[in-house]
């Protein structure tokens, strides 16, 4: 256990120190970790074996909630923005969740895709409200009543993002190890037996769905604040696809997989975007096929396997 605490503190310190190496690192890391938060939402649902092809809808809801509040209140306040936007996304997640948790696998995936497509076209079509495909500008909010300069706000947002990642990472870890999280895993292995011991599979999945919606929306809020913009592209299916891809790449067997996956993904993308500017989506698709066919456990899976092996060797050596 202390090993884990040390690992978390060391990686947090490394992240905090990283921006001093180069200026662009900070904005890169904010966006990557925000994406990791959204991916964490996908990872929660993957525990039940369910893949959502439409979770970008919650990412966009978080971003647009922030944008609307920002527009109405000339910026608003950072902490309340995070909380209110996440609450709104949680509520929407509850409503959509009540419908989609009745379904599994193909239906679950495609219904989510349908919802996000509808939301995307609403964002594009209702021009007078949403600004159409140009989106809405997000102003710099104050922080607990203090108005900050651009540079210090960005530094603060970076710290808040890291804190969110660690805090929600730990919370989700606890949640997945709790009876509710174990019940979630049971949906994947055998749902009927879960019902036989008196647990409502739908309710278990609904909780997970709302949790995942909130996590995705937090990613959206941070991204909107960091980029100063909310556009319909946030709800587009390619973004949903990216989330799923990162979750598979990082591996669903550990919460850290979401963040490691997101950092690896964004890193690869920065290089791939230079090498194959037009072919980026193709590279992504081919990599996804490769991971599914040859390493379906992802990076976290490799890590878990590796540590299990060394633990086994140790106990063998002890005997």
């Amino acid at each position: 256990m202390p090993w884990r605490a040390i690992l978390i503190i060391v990686s947090a310190l490394c992240l905090l120190a990283a921006p001093f190496a180069a200026g662009w690192v900070q904005s890169f890391l904010v966006l990557a970790i925000a994406k990791g938060l959204a991916v964490l939402g996908i990872v929660v649902l993957l525990q039940a074996g369910q893949v959502s092809f439409g979770h970008a809808i919650f990412f966009a809801i978080g971003a647009y909630a922030t944008a609307f509040i920002s527009r109405a209140m000339a910026g608003g306040e950072l902490v309340s923005l995070l909380i209110v936007s996440a609450l709104i996304a949680g509520l929407v997640g509850l409503v959509i969740g009540l419908f989609v948790v009745r379904y599994r696998y193909i239906f679950f995936s495609m219904l989510n895709l349908a919802f996000s497509m509808v939301f995307y076209s609403i964002l594009e079509k209702f021009f007078h409200l949403t600004g159409g495909s140009d989106g809405i500008r997000v102003l710099r909010p104050s922080v607990l009543g203090v108005v900050l300069e651009r540079e210090s706000f960005e530094r603060l947002l970076y710290v808040v993002t890291i804190l969110c990642a660690i805090g929600f990472g730990l919370l989700v870890d606890r949640y997945l190890k709790s009876p509710l999280g174990q019940a979630l895993r049971a949906i994947k292995s055998n749902e009927t037996r879960l019902e036989y011991i008196g647990v409502s599979a739908r309710r278990v999945l609904l909780v997970a769905y709302v949790v995942s919606a909130v996590l995705c929306s937090l990613g959206g809020v941070i991204t909107a604040l960091a980029q100063g913009l909310a556009t319909p592209e946030y709800a587009f299916w390619i973004r949903s696809g990216e989330f799923v891809f990162i979750a598979i790449l990082g591996g669903a067997s550990h919460v850290a997989g979401a963040f490691v996956g997101a950092l690896a993904f964004e890193g690869i993308r920065n290089f791939a975007a230079i090498l194959f500017a037009d072919g980026w989506q193709m590279v992504l698709g081919l990599m996804l096929i490769g991971v599914v066919l040859f390493a379906s456990e992802g990076i976290a899976g490799l890590w878990v396997k590796l540590t299990a092996k060394t633990a086994a060797q140790k106990s063998e050596a002890a005997q």
Binding site: F107, M117, V118, R193
Partner: protein, 301 residues
């Protein structure tokens, strides 16, 4: 709403339903036999459209008879269906039949991402338009309004031909019976000597060709844009799911229902045009989760 707009909405809806049906029936056929939802189906539709644009424009440039556009549409569809269908099935799908459902979905989704990109690399992002096949057939006049014969006669006719053709093929020929046998019980079918692998490949090619045919026939009626594949996969899934996955005749009726619903929405409440198909789907699935025409499956413990 006058009788004229009513008629206009009706014919629009039928023409649209015919196109959606062609794509949805391919999707539902593949699912019925192979138990795989082919997310890349939307891309096959888009490829069908783009390929026919290239062929028809090519015919125009060569100065050949514009009537050749019609066989060109069919050839484009068959070409896309056979080439891409064979490639996807043999290179990828054959490796994943034993994997869990979520992973199968991911693979077809990945294929979709790749194909969307390839399509953009080949044809770019500018819109294309080929109007000749529609103009050649001329207009017909009904109750004082002119309709294009292509949309009011040809499209529904082809959809009906495909529907009855598929029915005849599956129920009346040996090959069709073999496909049905594999659908019913793959193991038992394999045990009596049916080559399930081959059946899967042929089914996938048929389904892929139908999607491409939908795209090829849609090409003369709208402008061809990137993103058309995405819209179509979600819409054809909505049709197939509302009917019940694997239901061929049901898909025809549901396509009609959703097509009409959409075109009436265009005239009554244009903001809801995009939403109507999904509203219909959500309403149906709330009442009958397995779809309109499918029987609920017994739970396996």
């Amino acid at each position: 709403m006058s009788a004229q707009t009513l008629a206009l909405a009706f014919f629009d809806g039928v023409a649209y339903a015919a196109l959606v049906f062609l794509v949805a029936v391919g999707l539902t056929l593949i699912f019925g036999v192979m138990r795989i939802l082919n997310v890349a189906h939307g891309s096959l539709y888009a490829f069908g459209a783009y390929a026919s644009v290239s062929l028809v424009t090519g015919i125009g440039l060569m100065g050949w008879s514009p009537w050749l556009a019609y066989p060109a549409l069919a050839i484009a569809a068959a070409l896309v269906g056979i080439v891409l269908g064979t490639a996807i099935e043999t290179l990828l799908l054959q490796r994943i039949y034993a994997k869990e459902e979520a992973l199968q979905l991911l693979v077809t989704f990945a294929v979709f991402m790749v194909l969307e990109n390839v399509q953009r690399l080949i044809w770019g992002v500018q819109p294309y338009f080929i109007g000749e096949p529609v103009q050649l057939l001329g207009n017909i006049s009904l109750g004082g309004i002119e309709y294009t014969a292509y949309q009011t006669l040809l499209l529904p006719l082809i959809a009906i031909l495909v529907l009855f053709g598929l029915r005849l093929f599956l129920k009346g020929t040996l090959a069709g019976q073999i496909i049905l046998a594999v659908t019913e019980d793959r193991e038992a079918a394999t045990a009596i000597g049916i080559n399930a692998k081959k059946v899967f490949l042929i089914t996938f090619i048929i389904g892929a060709s139908l999607a491409a045919l939908g795209g090829a026939l849609a090409a003369p009626t709208t402008s061809i844009l990137p993103g058309m594949g995405t819209d179509m996969i979600v819409l054809s899934f909505a049709v197939a799911a509302t009917a019940g996955l694997g239901q061929i005749e049901g898909a025809a009726l549901t396509a009609l229902l959703i097509g009409l619903g959409r075109s009436f929405a265009v005239y009554l409440a244009p903001e809801f045009e995009v939403l109507t198909p999904y509203l219909i789907m959500v309403l149906v699935l709330l009442v009958r989760p397995q779809g309109l025409f499918a029987r609920p499956e017994a739970r396996r413990i």
